[in-house]
């Protein structure tokens, strides 16, 4: 099977990967040891595999790796800088917005994309923004609180 060579920016670093035609972007991330992005439903229904491609949050399970060629990709691994958690990550930890934690990278990535566009969200806007992210243990009250808190933290600066 002919491999395809793709070049893209991953968390600020330009990489060239050889991928299979049928390989999803999520599978390619895992093959390259970026395992923070989770496979949960694999059918685009839970947003657990969320990543940010060219500024938009997307589900990496239903996109081919080949389609990400020349893209600019941000994954959960790219949020912390020099060992310091991103304010969104801190807010999720402080609000206890994770239980088993498996869906958390998807929530945080979706939150990152959302807060870029809506730095002063209302609670209803946060609920709508997270409507696609499914959590099967802690529920949604704490994640919503975490997003509102993260918005405040990002306003007041680091």
């Amino acid at each position: 099977m002919p491999e395809i060579e793709i070049t893209l920016k991953v968390n600020g670093r330009t990489v060239t990967w050889r991928v299979q035609p049928g390989e999803t972007l999520l599978e390619a991330l895992h093959h390259h040891h970026l395992k923070g992005t989770k496979l949960i439903c694999g059918t685009g229904d839970c947003c657990g595999c969320g990543v940010i491609l060219n500024g938009n949050s997307i589900n990496s399970c239903c996109m081919l790796a080949a389609q990400a060629d020349s893209g600019d990709l941000l994954t959960i691994e790219g949020l912390a800088q020099e060992g310091k958690l991103h304010p969104i990550q801190e807010a999720f930890a402080e609000e206890g917005a994770a239980q088993c934690g498996y869906c958390t990278p998807g929530f945080i990535i979706r939150t990152y994309a959302f807060l870029q566009e809506h730095p002063h969200p209302t609670e209803a806007e946060v609920q709508a923004a997270l409507a696609g992210n499914i959590c099967r243990c802690t529920g949604y009250v704490k994640p919503v609180a975490a997003v509102l808190r993260a918005a405040e933290m990002m306003q007041s600066g680091p």
């Binding site: 395809i4 390989e23 999803t24 947003c47 949050s57 239903c62 923004a129 409507a131 696609g132 992210n133």
Partner: protein
């Protein structure tokens, strides 16, 4: 790993059409249906990505809104003219299609190409009298959306790609309504209803009423439409016509809803879409409900 043996990313329409002429190949854009629903991969080994063809435009010219095959649900939902045309029914359908992440990937043309009877946007496109521009090796052809769908996941599209969808800008003011009944905020419709009305002096002079998820295709309820023309745009009319809608739909039972429930809710959704179009929706009904 999906069983795909080759990926093509053509940069010209001619190249894309030539690639698609071969058996065993299909179009990929957003990928959110194609890559997760095995029904679309039957007999498919190779995919042709159409996202580098420069088709991600939404333009307004010569009395048409032209929506290129690469335009995502998100861009459709946020387009200012689409948000106002017939009370924004198409923008509202696009805005409730899947989750935010899906709307960043999925395209309007893909929602049409997938041809699912439960899809959120084809009813609005039909109600707005839209056309699909199909391109194949034989050239281009234009198909009105109300004769595009043939059955679940089946359309008149052969080895062609949808280049763009076109919506005529109406001469007269038309108003619209859209009502979706779904299990959750991001689930597909159990029932949806979309209406467009022309009203002159309180009387309905033209109408389209399109029901989703209650027939093998997005269904224009033509008998209900006939019964609406010439009638006052009023609650009594809508209540009476809802009974015709219930008889006209051909729903199935599945894990989301029984056929009986869908039939009953068809009447409810139709009334609520018509009320919106007539400016009569009570508080809480101005918008779709999940």
């Amino acid at each position: 790993m999906l069983k795909i043996t080759a990926y093509y990313s053509p940069t010209t329409l001619t190249e894309a059409v030539a690639l698609l002429a071969e058996e065993g190949r299909t179009v990929i854009a957003g990928g959110t249906d194609l890559l997760v629903n095995p029904r679309y991969m039957v007999g498919v080994r190779e995919v042709v990505d159409i996202r580098k063809l420069g088709l991600d435009y939404i333009s307004v010219e010569d009395g048409w809104i032209r929506i290129g095959a690469g335009a995502t649900m998100r861009t459709v939902a946020r387009h200012p003219l689409i948000q106002t045309l017939a009370n924004g029914i198409l923008a509202r359908g696009a805005a409730v299609c899947g989750s935010p992440n899906i709307r960043n990937m999925a395209t309007l043309a893909g929602n049409v190409a997938s041809a699912l009877p439960s899809a959120d946007t084809p009813p609005a496109l039909i109600a707005l009298n839209a056309q699909a521009v199909l391109v194949g090796t034989q050239g281009e052809r234009i198909v009105p959306l109300d004769s595009f769908f043939v059955g679940p996941a089946k359309s008149v599209r052969e080895r062609e790609l949808i280049r763009e969808l076109r919506i005529p800008l109406p001469n007269d003011k038309i108003s619209g309504g859209f009502y979706k009944i779904g299990r959750t905020a991001e689930d597909i419709s159990m029932v949806n209803a979309t209406a467009t009305l022309n009203i002159q002096d309180g009387v309905i002079t033209d109408v389209r009423l399109v029901m989703g998820a209650v027939a093998p295709i997005p269904l224009r309820t033509v008998e209900a439409e006939q019964a609406l023309i010439g009638q006052p745009a009023a609650e009594e009319t809508f209540q009476r016509v809802a009974e015709i809608v219930r008889q006209e739909v051909r729903p199935i039972s599945d894990h989301r809803a029984s056929a009986d429930y869908r039939r009953r809710m068809s009447g409810v959704a139709a009334i609520r879409a018509l009320r919106q179009a007539a400016g009569l929706a009570p508080h809480g009904e101005e918008w779709h409900h999940a």
